[in-house]
């Protein structure tokens, strides 16, 4: 199954939101849940990144690369990077994978690789 991450398009004014918010920040629509979920594109460019060395205790890796990506269409998201030497502005392609485990819980999110 192809997993995807959804953004939320306001039914009133068409503004796309990510992450979810209850009320449209553009038109201020007060109708509850007046959004259509739509999958985020998986291609974009790397805006900024870091390699984190002091990780929360449950991570069993020495460092974790995290970046912010501007997806095609303009929505920006965070994700983990599987890129040896990231560069700002480089094109990347994301897929949805397990990004964190806590005991028996698994959390899915974007992992970006060089496109």
């Amino acid at each position: 199954m192809q997993r995807q991450i959804y953004a939320y398009r306001c039914r009133e004014c068409g503004t796309l939101h990510y992450p979810f918010r209850m009320r449209c920040k553009e038109c201020g629509n007060l109708e509850v849940f007046e959004f259509d979920a739509e999958p985020l594109p998986n291609k974009g460019t790397l805006v900024t990144f870091t390699h984190v060395h002091n990780l929360p205790a449950e991570y069993e890796v020495a460092r974790l690369s995290i970046g912010a990506v501007e997806l095609d269409g303009g929505v920006r998201v965070m994700g983990q990077l599987d890129i040896d030497e990231p560069k700002m502005g480089m094109p990347v392609r994301g897929s949805v994978e397990v990004v964190r485990r806590e005991a028996y819980e698994r959390y899915w999110g974007f992992v970006f690789r060089a496109a």
Binding site: Y18, T50, V52, N54, A68, G79, Y107
Partner: protein
């Protein structure tokens, strides 16, 4: 609205405190009451972020009011992340300004060293957006690092500038007996020596160990009073003249320009306007340098320097003691320490000490106007407070 004055202040040492959380909050409160010579407290606000999680204690205000034998005064715990301290001061301001109370005790405390540094970092990371940030392993150092990289790219800030902030603030802490770090550092040791990468390893590239504030225990208190009560207190008169607050998107990367800290700019504008001042009239400032880059960025957003020029002012020494705009002469969060719930109040404590002209070796000459910036989340929720010395 009535004018609000700071009649008394108190603070604990920052570092590792091995007494209960409620006492870390109560101890500076005792000092503040003694300082002002006032005990007729009608209301307490207790700023704390992690009592429930780090110290296994909730309802902290109830414990503090009783520890101080101030029952049946009103008491609330205020949690607003790392901006809890300034938020509690804002509540105290409202209580006095509205006329509801004449004497309000605002105290803050945090006990973070009960857990190890990694757990403390994870605890702070719970401030981030749970779905869009936290799950990826985004920590506050990670946010600051990604912000730093953008800032370096756009404005030419370098690791050397960051190291200069670290050295300035950590060494300034040596003049502050309450500061957590009492260990001088040098540019050579953290940046230039062949061993610098081991002395000062990356925490989240390009931020290094000495770019980050320590994890501290600590408490601080200000006693806020009405004008009539202030008139009966024989201490230099310092007025809480401006309170400004602004919020921004929870997910940091959603902001239109991720190199701007809009909430800082708006909070400072509101605070200074309320006090009838502008940034050029500020004599001394305590900014929220949880990471060295934040001092540079905030010094621009609050209006001391043009956007992108904070690091140039730093190079010229303008932000040091004796410079044209001294910032974090207490050592800042970087040198003094960052017990999250208490930090906003500790910043106010320093400014009041400066405006009373009682700061000793770190006194900014003739200071009459001071500004604090207490930065919650990664700029999600920011308060700026303006204090003025009244003759």
């Amino acid at each position: 609205m009535r004018d609000v004055y700071v009649a008394g202040i108190g603070i604990t040492s920052f570092g590792r405190l091995e007494y209960p959380l409620a006492e870390i909050a109560a101890y500076p409160a005792m000092m503040a009451m003694k300082d002002a010579g006032l005990t007729a407290v009608e209301q307490l606000y207790v700023a704390n972020m992690g009592g429930g999680r780090l110290s296994h204690q909730t309802g902290l205000a109830s414990a503090v009011v009783d520890t101080l034998s101030l029952t049946p005064a009103g008491a609330e715990t205020i949690e607003n992340g790392p901006a809890s301290g300034a938020s509690a001061i804002k509540q105290g301001y409202l209580a006095v300004a509205s006329g509801m109370h004449d004497v309000v005790l605002v105290t803050g405390a945090e006990r973070m060293r009960e857990v190890n540094n990694l757990d403390a970092t994870d605890f702070i990371a719970t401030l981030t957006h749970p779905l869009a940030e936290y799950i990826y392993g985004v920590t506050l150092p990670a946010h600051a690092a990604m912000f730093t990289r953008l800032y370096m790219d756009k404005y030419g800030v370098t690791e050397r500038h960051l190291a200069m902030v670290a050295v300035k603030n950590q060494n300034q802490a040596l003049a502050n007996e309450f500061a957590h770090l009492q260990q001088p550092i040098t540019i050579e040791g953290i940046l230039d020596s062949p061993e610098a990468m081991t002395n000062n390893p990356y925490v989240a590239e390009p931020l290094r160990f000495f770019d980050c504030c320590p994890v501290s225990d600590g408490g601080a208190c200000v006693l806020l009073v009405s004008e009539e009560v202030a008139a009966s207190v024989d201490r230099p008169r310092v007025r809480l003249a401006g309170v400004g607050q602004a919020t921004d998107t929870h997910a940091v990367i959603e902001r239109d320009d991720p190199t701007e800290l809009t909430a800082v700019r708006l909070a400072a504008e509101k605070s200074l306007a309320m006090a009838g001042r502008d940034a050029s009239t500020v004599d001394v400032a305590e900014l929220h340098d949880a990471f060295t880059i934040l001092e540079i960025a905030q010094s621009e957003e609050v209006g001391f320097f043009a956007k992108g020029e904070g690091h140039l002012a730093l190079e010229k020494g303008e932000t040091g003691l004796g410079g044209s705009m001294p910032i974090n002469v207490s050592g800042g969060l970087k040198g003094k320490g960052h017990p999250v719930g208490a930090t906003g109040i500790a910043q106010a404590h320093e400014i009041v000490t400066q405006l009373r002209h009682e700061a000793g070796d770190r006194q900014v000459e003739q200071a009459t106007t001071g500004l604090t910036c207490n930065f919650g989340g990664f700029g999600n929720n920011v308060l700026c407070l303006t204090f003025t010395r009244e003759s």
